[in-house]
C-alpha cells in the first residue's frame, strides 16, 4: 500500500461532470498525475455538419454545450454572417446580447450548484436550480424550449420579444440582484469551510494560461485580462458598460469569485440592453438559399466557459465544407493534469469542478 496506486474515476461517477474518465495515479493521498480521458460523448457533430445546409446545422449547435445553448448558436450564426457579409439589424443584435447574457447567468448557476455539490453542500445546488428555472421560463416564453432553443437564425433571431418578456426579465433581474446573489454570498462565499476547501488549491499560473490556451474564467481567475467581449467586441458589446471580472489568485477560489462577479455584470448588461432596445426588424435581409462565397472565417465569442471559436470553410455550396468547433472546455480540461499535481484527492474533484467542463462540448 505504499507504492503508487492507480485509481479510475470512471465515466460513470457521481462527481465528474458528464462522461469523463480521469485516470489518476496516487501516492497515498497525494496525486501524481490525473489524466483526463475523453471521447465518451463523441457524436460526430463536425462531420454531420458537412452534410447539412447552413440553416440546418443550427439545431445541432445547441447540443454541443447543452448547458449554454444560446451562445453556441450565437457563435455559429456570427460565423456564417461573416462569410456572407450580412448586416444584422440593431434590434436583433440587442436581443442576441440579452439572450447570451441570460444564458451566461443560467450557465453560471449550474456551475455554482454543482461546484457546491462537489463539496457536499447540497442546498446551494437546489437553490441555484430554483433560480435557473426562472431563466428557463423566460427562454421558454421567447423561444419555446427550455434547453435546446433553436432561437438564433442566420441574419437575426427567429421570433421577436414582446413587452411581457421585457417585463418578466426585469422582474427576474431585480429578484436576482437583490435576493439571489446576496444569498449565495452569505451561504457559500464567506463560509469558512468553503474558503479552506477552495483557497490555495488548483493553482494555475498565468504562464500556464498562455501555454494551454485557457480562456474565460480560467484565464481571468489567474489575472490574465482576456475577455472577447472586451478585447474583440462583437454584436455591439462595445455599446454596453461592464467590468471585466478579474482575480489574481489563480486558485479555485479566484475562479469562483470571477464567475460570481460575471453573473452580476451580466445582469448589468441585460438591464442596459433592455433599456436601450431599439425598434425595428428582428431579422435581416437573408437570401432564400444560403450559399456563402468561397472562403474561410474564424469567429470567436465569449461563451460562459471561455473562448468559443468557429472555423468555417465554405466552397460555395449550400453546405459547409468544414466546420471546426473550438470548444473552450476542451482546452481548459487539458490543464487538469498540471493543476492537480501534488494535491489531495479531495481537491481533484473541486478543481475539475472549477474548470466547468461540459462533455458535450469537449467531445462534440
Amino acid at each position: 500500500m505504499t507504492d503508487t496506486m492507480y485509481l479510475n474515476m470512471g465515466p460513470q461517477h457521481p462527481s465528474t461532470h458528464g462522461v469523463l474518465r480521469l485516470a489518476v495515479e496516487v501516492d497515498g493521498e497525494t496525486i501524481l498525475a490525473a489524466k483526463p480521458d475523453i471521447g465518451y460523448l463523441h457524436r460526430c457533430f463536425e462531420k454531420t455538419a458537412e452534410g447539412l445546409t447552413y440553416p440546418q446545422v443550427l439545431p445541432y449547435t445547441d447540443r454541443t454545450d447543452y448547458v449554454s445553448a444560446m451562445t453556441n448558436e450565437f457563435a455559429y450564426v456570427l460565423a456564417v454572417e461573416k462569410l456572407l457579409g450580412l448586416e444584422v439589424p440593431p434590434r436583433a443584435q440587442f436581443i442576441r446580447v440579452i439572450m447570451a447574457e441570460l444564458q451566461r447567468i443560467a450557465n453560471h448557476l449550474v456551475w455554482f450548484g454543482t461546484f457546491a455539490l462537489d463539496m457536499a453542500a447540497v442546498t446551494p445546488f437546489l437553490y441555484a436550480f430554483r433560480d435557473r428555472e426562472k431563466i428557463l421560463d423566460l427562454f421558454e416564453r421567447a423561444s419555446g424550449a427550455r434547453l435546446t432553443y433553436s432561437y438564433y437564425r442566420i441574419g437575426g433571431v427567429r421570433k421577436d420579444i414582446d413587452g411581457e418578456f421585457v417585463r418578466k426579465t426585469r422582474e427576474f433581474l431585480d429578484y436576482f440582484e437583490e435576493q439571489v446573489l446576496p444569498e449565495y454570498h452569505r451561504l457559500l462565499t464567506g463560509n469558512r469551510i468553503f474558503e479552506i476547501r477552495t483557497q490555495g488549491t488548483g493553482y494555475i499560473s498565468p504562464e500556464l494560461v498562455y501555454a494551454y490556451g485557457l480562456s474565460g474564467p480560467m484565464a481571468r481567475g489567474s489575472g490574465v485580462p482576456w475577455d472577447v467581449r472586451k478585447n474583440e467586441p462583437y454584436s455591439g458589446y462595445n455599446r454596453f458598460e461592464f467590468e471585466m471580472a478579474l482575480a489574481e489568485g489563480g486558485d479555485n477560489y479566484a475562479r469562483y469569485m470571477v464567475r460570481m462577479k460575471e453573473m452580476a455584470e451580466s445582469a448589468k448588461i441585460i438591464r442596459q440592453a433592455l433599456d436601450g432596445l431599439p425598434e425595428g426588424e428582428y431579422m435581416g435581409k437573408v437570401p432564400k438559399i444560403i450559399k456563402p462565397p468561397v472562403g474561410e472565417v474564424y469567429v470567436r465569442i465569449e461563451s460562459p466557459k471561455g473562448e468559443l471559436g468557429v472555423f468555417l470553410v465554405s466552397d460555395g455550396s449550400p453546405k459547409p465544407y468544414r466546420l471546426k468547433w473550438r470548444a473552450p472546455s476542451f482546452s481548459n480540461l487539458q490543464v487538469t493534469e498540471v493543476a492537480t499535481r501534488g494535491e489531495k484527492i479531495a481537491d481533484l474533484v473541486v478543481t475539475v469542478g472549477s474548470i466547468d467542463v461540459v462533455l458535450g462540448e469537449v467531445d462534440r
Binding site: 474515476m9 457536499a120 463560509n191 469551510i193 481533484l348
Partner: protein
C-alpha cells in the same frame, strides 16, 4: 422477593427500545426536513399524506435484497461489522435518564460507560474496511477510524469538565446537580462537545467516511441490503443518543417547569437533532487533513483550556 423493580426496569427498557426503533421515523423526518431546507417537498407518495411510510417501504426493499459477501472477504469480520456498529448505539440508551426515575440502569459510572461504548464504533469501521477485501474500502475505513479516534479525545475531555462540576459520573446525578444549565457555566465545553459529537456521528461537515465516494469507496461499499441498513440505522440511533447526551449534560436533561420531565427531555433532544440536521444541509465538507487539524490543533487545546476554566470555577466560585 420484590419483583416490581425488576419488572419496572424491563418495562422501561422495552419502552426505550421502542423509542429507539421509532427512530426509523427519523429517517423520514430527515428527508422531509432536507426537502424544506431546499424549497421542495420530501417523500410524498408512499403513504399519503406526506409519504410517512417511505421508511417502511425502504426497509422492506432492503430486507429482500441478496446478501452479497465479496469473494476473498474475511467472512466473519465482514458479517459481524454491522452489528458491532449497531449494538453500541443501542447500549448507550441504557444510562440516559428520560425522567427522574425513567432510566434503565443509572450506573454511577454513566459517563465512563458512554465513552467506552461509543469507542466500539471505531472497531466496526476497521472490521468492515478490512473484511471487505477491497483496497479502497480499507483506505476509506482507515481514514474514518482516524477521524473517530481523533475526535474522541476532545469529546471525553469536555464530558470530564461536566463531571468536575457535578461531582458525579451518573447522568441522573448530573441532571439533578444542574441548578443552572451547564451550558451557561461552560459554553466552550458545550461547543467542543457539539463539534466533536458531529464528527463522531460522521455527519456533514465531517462525513468523509460515507461520502468518500467522491473518489475512494467508503467503508460500506461492499454491503447491501440489511447489513448496509444496520450501518445507516446505527448512525441515526447515534444521532439521537448524542443529542440526548448533549441535552442531559449541558441543558438540564429532564429538568424544566410545568411540563412533565419526559416531555422536556424529548423536546430538548429533538431540538438538537434538528440542529444537527440543519448543519448537515448547510455546510460543505472539510478535507481529511483539515479535519484532523481541527481535532488535534484546535479542539484539544480548547478542551484542555475548558478543563482549566472549570477548575477555576470550582476553586474560585466554589461551584
Amino acid at each position: 422477593m420484590d419483583w416490581w423493580p425488576l419488572v419496572w426496569s424491563v418495562i422501561k427498557a422495552l419502552l426505550i427500545v421502542t423509542f429507539v426503533l421509532a427512530n426509523a421515523f427519523l429517517i423520514w423526518v430527515e428527508r422531509k426536513i432536507a426537502g424544506r431546507f431546499q424549497r421542495r417537498l420530501g417523500p410524498m407518495r408512499v403513504g399519503r399524506p406526506h409519504g410517512w411510510a417511505q421508511t417502511f417501504a425502504d426497509l422492506i426493499k432492503l430486507l429482500s435484497k441478496e446478501d452479497v459477501v465479496p469473494g476473498g472477504a474475511e467472512k466473519w469480520l465482514f458479517l459481524i461489522a454491522p452489528l458491532v456498529a449497531f449494538i453500541p448505539a443501542l447500549l448507550v440508551y441504557m444510562v440516559i435518564p428520560f425522567g427522574p426515575t425513567w432510566v434503565v440502569n443509572d450506573l454511577n459510572i454513566g459517563v465512563l460507560f458512554i465513552s467506552a461504548v461509543t469507542s466500539f464504533s471505531v472497531l466496526a469501521f476497521f472490521m468492515s474496511g478490512w473484511g471487505s477485501n477491497n483496497k479502497y474500502s480499507v483506505l476509506g475505513a482507515f481514514r474514518a477510524a482516524a477521524q473517530l479516534i481523533s475526535y474522541e479525545v476532545p469529546l471525553v475531555l469536555s464530558m470530564i469538565a461536566v463531571v468536575m462540576l457535578a461531582g458525579s459520573m451518573s447522568l441522573n446525578d448530573i441532571v439533578k446537580a444542574q441548578t443552572v444549565p451547564y451550558v451557561l457555566l461552560q459554553p466552550l465545553g458545550f461547543l467542543i462537545f457539539f463539534i466533536a459529537a458531529i464528527a463522531e456521528l460522521n455527519r456533514t461537515p465531517f462525513d468523509l467516511a460515507e461520502a468518500e465516494s467522491e473518489l475512494v469507496a467508503g467503508y460500506n461499499t461492499e454491503y447491501s441490503g440489511m447489513r448496509w441498513a444496520f450501518f445507516f440505522l446505527a448512525e441515526y440511533a447515534n444521532t439521537v443518543s448524542a443529542s440526548a447526551i448533549m441535552a442531559t449534560l449541558f441543558f438540564g436533561g429532564w429538568k424544566g417547569p410545568l411540563l412533565p420531565p419526559v416531555v422536556w427531555f424529548l423536546l430538548k433532544t429533538y431540538i438538537f437533532v434538528f440542529i444537527i440536521m440543519w448543519i448537515r444541509w448547510t455546510l460543505p465538507r472539510v478535507r481529511i487533513d483539515q479535519l484532523l487539524n481541527l481535532g488535534w490543533k484546535v479542539l484539544l487545546p480548547a478542551a484542555l483550556l475548558n478543563i482549566a476554566w472549570t477548575g477555576l470555577l470550582g476553586l474560585v466560585f466554589k461551584i
